[in-house]
């Protein structure tokens, strides 16, 4: 069967501690045109309670064989048939539901397989140099630290904007946490496939579960776990801000800074890629570009290049723009129009809806120039290539650069770089010709996840 032959909705079952679970009335997963493509089993609260209890009782994944296991799981994820879906069918479903171009999904599959294979070594790169992994380590004879988990059960409340979000929690599994993943109801396929692959490679069903739920039950899952990561907007971040057990992954508000000593024309591909690669849907896509000097030429050049991106159906090999239901595209377009009031529109003033005629629409790029680096628009992050270009001067300082997941600094100013690194609300700094979306196993996304999951315990003496 080829991907194009898929007609019947696929069943996406919960994967519980005792195997697959199908609910009596599965909920519907629709694609960007509104067509039903899958039936997702949402588990009720009591299922979550039972699954958490089972995870708590289960042994951690043994560190000894974990590397081989993770390599096998990565291979299975990238090539296997899981839950009745070959990798091509899986990728089609992800693309059709998340609205990300198929080519982006495909390259993410390969990337994710690499992250899976290296999850244990990645996780260990976050270990403090003063701590050891094993209580039998001879260093402990003289007194040392042992790296230990802060809890047993880790819950993931995932988002569906990009399949790459599922690369992070593997480190928790590798560190010995038992993991419960609540997938996005819009795109549950990646979590299902990844967990299926890990089970097939040898992770036990009571060590790793997939728990699709409604919103309220998802909150119960978070409450019942020792540690949790939650993806969402500002409201979600605010809701969990005071809970030290919850790590929030909110809007990225990723930015690029170009200082006067750098000719941005040399880096235009990097800037364009930062805005638009991955369909512009990731938190590591650039939302703002700040330019020391006149921002107009840069805005014009970016707009010129982005205007050439075609509005195409997702499965077209040339498709690069995200697609969503037509109604939502119109709502986003009108939201953009109101958000952009008072700015200079270089691209997108006619709206961003690229109607594809099947109930869905591609979201065309937008480029707007604002007149101050403190303009409110710079905080407006939208799920398509949408960038705000602002002037910046040394007098503005780094205040406009705060609250940023990735800051790409196109500069040769080492003093400024020191300031950026010292700023607590800038999570990652890329220097030079590297796009904002660059990631690699072992390099933290928002600090090492292990900073949140692990602690160092003093120990002296061995047995």
């Amino acid at each position: 069967m080829t991907a194009a032959d898929i007609t019947d909705p696929v069943h996406v079952d919960a994967l519980g501690p005792r195997g697959a679970y199908r609910s009596r009335v599965p909920s519907t997963v629709t694609d960007v045109s509104g067509a039903e493509v899958a039936r997702l089993s949402l588990v009720p609260p009591v299922y979550v309670t039972r699954a958490l209890a089972a995870l708590r009782r289960a042994e951690p994944v043994a560190a000894a064989g974990a590397d081989a296991l993770l390599r096998a799981a990565g291979e299975e994820f990238a090539t296997g048939t899981i839950g009745g879906l070959g990798v091509r069918e899986y990728e089609h479903l992800v693309s059709r539901t998340s609205g990300i171009p198929l080519t982006v999904v495909r390259s993410t599959t390969r990337g994710t397989a690499r992250f899976v294979a290296q999850a244990q070594s990645s996780a260990r790169r976050g270990k403090p140099s003063g701590a050891v992994l094993d209580r039998r380590d001879p260093a402990l004879k003289a007194g040392h630290a042992v790296w230990a988990r802060r809890g047993d059960v880790f819950a993931v409340n995932a988002s569906g904007n990009h399949p790459g979000v599922h690369r992070q929690w593997l480190e928790a599994l590798a560190l010995g946490y038992r993991v419960a993943v609540r997938p996005s109801r819009r795109e549950p396929f990646t979590a299902h496939r990844l967990i299926g692959a890990l089970h097939r490679a040898g992770v036990r069903e009571d060590q790793l579960v997939l728990l699709p739920t409604d919103h309220a039950t998802g909150d119960a899952l978070i409450r019942g776990a020792d540690r949790a990561v939650v993806y969402g907007g500002d409201d979600v971040v605010a809701r969990h801000a005071h809970d030290p057990r919850v790590l929030t992954q909110g809007p990225g508000r990723t930015k690029i800074l170009v200082t006067a000593d750098t000719d941005w024309r040399q880096h235009l591909d990097t800037i364009i890629g930062s805005v638009a690669d991955e369909g512009g849907t990731a938190c590591v896509n650039a939302t703002a570009v700040l330019v020391e000097g006149d921002p107009a030429p840069l805005a014009e050049a970016v707009a010129d290049r982005l205007s050439q991106l075609p509005a195409l159906p997702l499965q077209d090999a040339r498709a690069v723009l995200p697609v969503c239901p037509l109604d939502r595209a119109r709502a986003l377009s009108s939201y953009l129009r109101s958000a952009a009031a008072g700015t200079r529109a270089w691209l997108g003033s006619e709206g961003v809806v690229g109607d594809l005629g099947d109930g869905s629409a591609a979201l065309r790029p937008a480029v707007h120039q604002v007149d101050s680096p403190l303009a409110a628009q710079l905080r407006t992050e939208l799920p398509f290539p949408c960038v705000w270009v602002a002037p910046w001067s040394r007098a503005d300082g780094i205040a406009p650069l705060r609250d940023t997941l990735v800051l790409s600094a196109l500069t040769s100013d080492g003093t400024l770089l020191d300031e950026l690194l010292a700023e607590p609300t800038i999570a990652n700094v890329h220097v030079g010709d590297t796009p904002t979306y660059w990631m690699a196993p072992g390099v933290p996304h928002d600090s090492y996840l292990s900073d949140f999951l692990m602690r160092s315990k003093a120990m002296i003496g061995t047995l």
């Binding site: 009335v25 299922y47 309670t49 039972r50 904007n161 500002d234 409201d235 809007p251 709502a331």
Partner: protein
């Protein structure tokens, strides 16, 4: 069959009176100036029809508008039919939970309390409930009907009722205020109180709300105890979705029969799950002629939906002590043919009205 009006009205649910005749008798009682309540006599003047003349059958109860909103303000003494004279034995005033605003108030007189208890007792015995064994009921008491119903049911079976009170209004307030952690602490508090009883007393019947039963699922010692010695679990007070019911019956409490109870304040009693249904089949609640009539309607048109279709539940309570006709519940259910020749509809898979959640996400990429 013909009855004197008074004898028809005094019939118990098991007496097999003709429901239409009962309704006619009730109209004469509630709308005759000598016997009706002050509330109904005054309200009748503003009805578009004459209840004594126009309401001839159960079906005609649908002529009444839903007047239950007025029960938020009516002084309870004005609800008592004058026909009782000085002999009216007011046992309780119950409040609705206040989900839809200020609580609505109903009165429970001695005669209806006995009817209701007899009916529940009979249904529970049909389920084979043990007699004389200790009950633990964990339910809202005080102004709430459900705790009282359960206590009386235990009593009818000769069973001492141990109980833990819960305050659903406070829990709702906590949740509405975003204080979910405090609501959790309150639940923990309830579980702790239950633990003391379950581990020290010989409990044969456990009656609890769905969320409490779900919460027990996390307590290994309680599960062991309940599965080891409890002979029946009665759930009620809130809804239970079919997946939860199946899991509780097969996975959490595999050794104990689960018996559903559907009731609310405006019904003034509770309906017990039809006997003989497995956890894989929908949970059905039959009405109780001639006092509790259900119909399942299209919320848009008010027309009855077909058997097997889901619609909004409309409940009428008709007794000598109270008349609460045509009350549109916030519940939905699947319409089922009632058993035992009961009038009206039976309901299956009762669920709260679905609340539509907007997909807010305009800003942000998630």
């Amino acid at each position: 069959m013909t009855y004197e009006p008074s004898s028809v009205l005094d019939a118990a649910p098991s007496d097999g009176v003709d429901p239409d005749e009962f309704v006619r008798a009730a109209m004469h009682w509630h709308f005759d100036p000598r016997t009706g309540s002050r509330y109904w006599l005054e309200r009748a003047e503003r009805l578009a029809f004459d209840p004594m003349r126009d309401v001839k059958s159960v079906a005609d109860l649908s002529l009444f508008p839903d007047l239950t909103d007025e029960l938020r303000d009516v002084p309870v003494t004005e609800l008592i039919p004058r026909g009782y004279g000085n002999r009216a034995a007011l046992i309780n005033v119950f409040d609705s939970g206040g989900t839809t605003g200020a609580p609505k108030r109903v009165v429970q007189l001695d005669d209806w309390m006995r009817r209701s208890t007899e009916q529940i007792d009979r249904r529970l015995r049909d389920h084979g409930l043990p007699v004389g064994t200790h009950w633990l009921t964990v339910a809202p008491t005080g102004p709430h009907l459900v705790g009282d119903v359960l206590q009386r049911a235990a009593g009818a079976l000769g069973s001492p009722g141990l109980s833990i009170d819960m305050d659903p209004r406070w829990v709702r307030r906590l949740i509405a205020a975003g204080r979910g952690d405090e609501a959790e602490s309150y639940t923990d508090h309830l579980v702790e109180q239950c633990r003391r009883i379950l581990l020290t007393q010989d409990i044969g019947v456990l009656a609890a709300t769905t969320p409490l039963l779900e919460r027990f699922a996390a307590e290994d010692d309680l599960l062991e105890r309940i599965n080891g010695s409890v002979e029946a679990i009665i759930w009620g007070g809130t809804h239970m979705d079919p997946d939860t019911r199946h899991l509780l019956a097969t996975d959490v409490f595999p050794d104990v029969p689960l018996i559903g109870m559907y009731g609310n304040t405006m019904m003034l009693t509770a309906l017990i799950e039809r006997v003989g249904l497995s956890a894989s089949r929908p949970c059905v609640f039959d009405p109780v002629s001639p006092n509790v009539f259900l119909s399942v309607v299209d919320p848009g048109t008010g027309e009855r939906v077909e058997v097997g279709e889901r619609g909004q539940v409309i409940v009428s309570h008709v007794s000598k002590s109270m008349l609460i006709p045509n009350n549109a519940e916030r519940d939905t259910a699947v319409r089922v043919r009632p058993a035992d020749g009961q009038a009206g509809d039976a309901v299956a898979d009762v669920a709260p009205v679905a609340t539509v959640k907007d997909e807010r996400v305009i800003e942000g990429v998630y």
